[in-house]
């Protein structure tokens, strides 16, 4: 039984990054303001002093350019960890990520590997308005050649970031800004890995499956507590890994509870929750006592005013409302 530490989600990311950079000299970080400025969300605090500008690289504001540079370096065998100041800015680098990183292994029929991690805060922070609040993971999960993960807990942040860095394929790693300060127990084990493609039952329950990922899993845990008060025993399924997706665990949960709600922060219409809902509806057709519900973000460009912003982001009450709607 390995030792553990109680740290924040942010510290778990830093712990994994430090341990991996110490372990493998081929790993370097690149991103905007990650070095001298320590990163806007301070995930890279302390790395520049320790590893210097050779391995912790302040990039000009050129998302496509520095992403492409990192991909080229990965093709040559290095292991870059790219930080997007926010995942919203990865939109400017999508051609590099989708047409180059995700496809080079296939286009070379397996000759060239592209071991690279694209990390950074994804989703709404607080009043950052329409251009800075995107959830990108659904788009990325649509692209063959990428792996896409979105941890919700400190332990997974630690174990999945390590898995991402050691993966020989491009991995999009999503950190919801609302999770950085979440505290939790983390194994103190520099070989601890949470493999991709395994969903995690964070709370067992009999009556309904609340299926989500990233911060929405925390929302689901909250909702489950509230539901318990009404005597509803909800099971919380943390998807964690969108691509590959662990349908076995998700289906098994629904076959047990006969009810499911998929919760995601992204715009509801055409979001990744639709894929999960469609799959569950199809695979669990005979097991469902009610239609699969979905709770997603409003289909609205994120507004600035807090009162409007809060309208857009799903919370535990929206989950409760959806549960009641199922009857």
């Amino acid at each position: 039984m390995a030792a553990t530490v109680e740290i924040t989600f942010r510290e778990a990311l830093q712990k994994a990054l430090y341990e991996e950079m110490d372990r493998n000299a081929d790993i370097f970080m690149i991103g905007e303001d990650i070095g001298r400025y320590e990163g806007t969300f301070k995930v890279t605090r302390g790395f520049f002093p320790k590893y210097g500008h050779r391995r912790v690289i302040d990039a000009p504001i050129t998302e496509a350019g520095f992403t492409g540079l990192a991909i080229g370096a990965a093709m040559a065998g290095l292991r870059p960890v790219v930080e997007f100041m926010t995942k919203s800015f990865s939109i400017l680098a999508l051609d590099q990520i989708i047409n180059h990183a995700a496809k080079v292994h296939y286009m070379t029929n397996g000759v060239v590997k592209c071991p690279i991690v694209f990390r950074g805060p994804g989703g709404a922070a607080k009043q950052l308005s329409a251009q800075h609040s995107h959830s990108m993971e659904g788009w990325f999960a649509h692209v063959p050649g990428l792996k896409v993960v979105a941890p919700a807990t400190v332990e997974d942040a630690y174990g999945m970031l390590r898995a991402a860095i050691r993966d020989d394929n491009p991995v999009v790693f999503t950190e919801n800004p609302g999770l950085y300060t979440v505290k939790g127990i983390c194994p103190d084990d520099n070989e601890f890995i949470v493999p991709f493609g395994k969903a995690n039952i964070l709370k067992e329950g009999r009556d309904i499956s609340l299926i989500g990922y990233s911060r929405m899993t925390q929302v689901n845990l909250l909702a489950a507590e509230l539901l318990a008060k009404d005597g509803i025993d909800a099971e919380v399924v943390d998807v964690r890994s969108l691509l590959p997706l662990d349908t076995d665990t998700i289906f098994a949960s629904v076959r047990k509870t006969h009810r499911a709600i998929v919760v995601y922060e992204d715009w509801k219409f055409g979001g990744f929750g639709a894929e999960i809902a469609a799959k569950v509806s199809e695979a669990c057709f005979d097991d469902l006592d009610a239609p699969v519900g979905r709770v997603g973000g409003l289909n609205v460009p994120m507004p600035y005013a807090r009162v409007l912003e809060l309208e857009c982001i799903p919370d535990e009450n929206d989950v409760l409302a959806a549960v009641r709607k199922l009857g």
Partner: protein, 331 residues
């Protein structure tokens, strides 16, 4: 023997000081939690916007910039209460509270924002200039961007088109020496950004943005030339950002020293103009202080008015996504 009238000098002074006091108030408002998200002030850079906005046909010519946009809007005539209200996320704001500090817009005064994606608005500005040319109007577009934005590739795609299509667009790099926490030397292979327009068949210059009188002269000269020729122009303007990158940036020591900041303060465009006003016996210290009092009072009233205005109603969240429909509603 001076080219400016006393009235002009006083106007520039009032404009710069008003922006300064207005944004100092913005910082207070932000610290009080009455504004949120990202808010970026123009403190130290006032002479730049004042020089340029006084060189165009306000309300006719096009102006576009990034998120550091309060000064541009105020100088173009956007009601200050509406700007403050937007910063405070109120219904009375320029965008009804939907945009916030980074997204101030006022098209009827020629101001097209107010954009948050670094470099992303630069081709839009070329498009505004394109529209003017397409319609045979002699409007020009002032297309402002930062020194960090000048690294975004879309800027050079735009310069090539501006040179290729002959667009009356003035690209203005507000070089305040920093892109957030990254110093010019660490983000630009060659810090002489004025050179970057040279390969695209347009005139390029580097100018001083800390002397409002010189700035105004240069700006007027360039605006007149572009209106005349209809060809683009690339300008790098040397200035300095006294504050942190944004109201949320409390880490200035990570990228510069107190000494550097103090030295920069000696170039303060407002102090510099005060010297001129006094030397030319246009305004003495008492008058200057009286004007400051007056402006501070004015800013207080603006704040009060903005603060008195209501927040948007929840149900407005779906308004104006489209001109003619609403999206699918609900969670």
């Amino acid at each position: 023997q001076y080219t400016e009238t006393p009235a002009e000098l006083e106007q520039y002074y009032r404009e710069m000081l008003f922006i300064r006091r207005f944004e100092e108030k913005c910082n207070v408002v932000y610290r009080q939690g009455k504004a949120g998200g990202y808010m970026h002030v123009y403190i130290g850079m006032e002479a730049l916007a004042v020089g340029w906005m006084n060189s165009i046909r306000k309300g006719e010519d096009y102006v576009i910039t990034a998120y550091r946009d309060h000064a541009h809007a105020l100088l173009l005539g956007t009601p200050a209460v509406a700007v403050m209200a937007e910063i405070m996320g109120r219904k009375a704001g320029t965008a009804g509270g939907k945009g916030g500090s980074m997204h101030i817009y006022d098209p009827k005064n020629g101001f097209y924002g107010g954009w948050g994606i670094v470099g992303g608005h630069v081709p839009l500005g070329a498009g505004l200039a394109f529209a003017a040319k397409y319609r045979g109007e002699d409007k020009v577009c002032l297309n402002f961007m930062g020194d960090g934005a000048a690294n975004q590739g879309v800027v050079y795609e735009t310069l090539n088109m501006a040179g290729l299509y002959d667009l009356p667009c003035i690209f203005i790099v507000e070089n305040n020496e920093f892109a957030m926490g990254t110093r010019l030397e660490y983000h630009a292979a060659d810090p002489e950004l004025w050179k970057r327009g040279l390969p695209y068949n347009m005139k390029c210059e580097r100018l001083d943005g800390m002397d409002v009188l010189q700035m105004k002269k240069d700006a007027q000269r360039i605006v007149n030339e572009v209106r005349e020729t209809g060809k683009p122009y690339w300008v790098e303007i040397m200035t300095y950002r006294y504050s942190g990158h944004g109201a949320a940036d409390n880490d200035r020591q990570l990228y510069r020293t107190k000494e550097e900041e103090e030295k920069a303060w000696q170039r303060d465009p407002i102090g510099r103009l005060e010297q001129v006003l006094i030397e030319r016996n246009i305004l003495n210290r008492e008058r200057l202080e009286a004007i400051d009092e007056e402006i501070l009072e004015q800013v207080e009233q603006i704040y009060e008015a903005a603060d008195a205005s209501p927040f948007p109603d929840k149900n407005e969240v779906y308004d104006n996504i489209y001109s003619d429909m609403s999206p699918e509603e609900g969670h």
